[in-house]
Symmetry: C2
Subunit: 256 residues, 2 copies
Amino acid sequence: MISVVILGAGNVATHLFKGFRKADNVSVIQWFNRSLSSISSYKNEVDITDDLSKLKDADIYILAISDDAISNLSSQLPFENKLVVHTSGSVSVYDIDMKHKRGVLYPLQTFSKEANLDFKNVPICIETIDKKSYPLLKEVALSTGSPTKKVNSDQRRVLHLAAVFVNNFTNQLYRIGHEITESEGAEFDVLKPLILETAKKIQDISPYMAQTGPAKRNDKKTLKKHLKLLDNNTQHKAIYELLTASIQQTHGRKKL
Amino acid sequence: MISVVILGAGNVATHLFKGFRKADNVSVIQWFNRSLSSISSYKNEVDITDDLSKLKDADIYILAISDDAISNLSSQLPFENKLVVHTSGSVSVYDIDMKHKRGVLYPLQTFSKEANLDFKNVPICIETIDKKSYPLLKEVALSTGSPTKKVNSDQRRVLHLAAVFVNNFTNQLYRIGHEITESEGAEFDVLKPLILETAKKIQDISPYMAQTGPAKRNDKKTLKKHLKLLDNNTQHKAIYELLTASIQQTHGRKKL
């Protein structure tokens, strides 16, 4: 049985705790948070504490805390030579104090606290400094039901950057779609099946192959009509122009 | 039984033909295309023709052809006062020759010829000039299993524009994600569950509520790291900056 201590009380910490509950070979023996009230509802399931000096001996300590707090908290841990990992996409593994064995468990998914998460849809990217820690981290990640992927620092960094493009930026395009449709009293809901189909399509074919539309076809009449509709919103117009140019560069068309 | 003639042989024409095959109250009595070879595989199911003078008498003529051909073909039709509709998101209903009763059946979805389409995921937007044609068009659209939505010209125009944002532009963000991950030998596949979850999330909550990430949090450290990673690609960097600014404008943050 692998013993784990979770530190932090955010979405990732909470989902990991729930994920490990179902695991046969991993046991969360303690949950630490600066403020006990955020985790007190779990006190009958697990030992909770807000006191670093009372941390139990465990195989792995998971810092599921905000990026800026990782370095500091890792130095304050009152032990050394234990495996300490963070869960961030963008923080260096070397931000963890060098007195520890260091690693990263980066779950690549969008988390909201309420929704129940199926870990089979949450790839966990694993990075370690010393090779010996890798099998243990992999076993811990797999125990939640997640697929795992071994990455190096550069790969984790670009995955986090790419995640911003396909998640945050994509969601902002949905938002702009919402604003545009509402401006004429049309319903955003009508676009929802298209949004889902666009995401489903690239599960099987590459985004390159999946591309369609006026930018790819260089359909100048439609491009012109759209730009005219966007005349009252400089920012939306700039986004239209830039992404059209990007599509045309990818597909070998001349610029707009 | 409502009789329909389909004109054109592209994705929309083909999917509509297949959709009407299952309908109880709609019968496609003829399929026209300039080139018979594109539709000849259906000749045992439906009367096919490449001769406008041989068009049969029907309740509705559906021009599922390219935007630029609509005006011309509609004038060449050798009859008048019949209901003639096109299927385009961006072409005016007035592009159809005024000798006809005119309307639009705009299916709001991304079509690829191979995939089988479930019309319950294809909202059909209906526009008519005279009110009398509306119930007939609605019945025809519903017969495929589609949800329908009555729209005016302005609403159809902005829906088409918004569709470009949530479909073509989103797909280009996936493409950029692909390029970024491959640049370090990371796998794009790891992002696929996140892409699907991002699209699923806004089926239930608004894109405004669904937003997360460094731009919304104004996490300057991460934003800076990402911009540095994009230093070798001016266009990707510009897209990152513009969409970050757009998110921050939506969520009341200062500009980058």
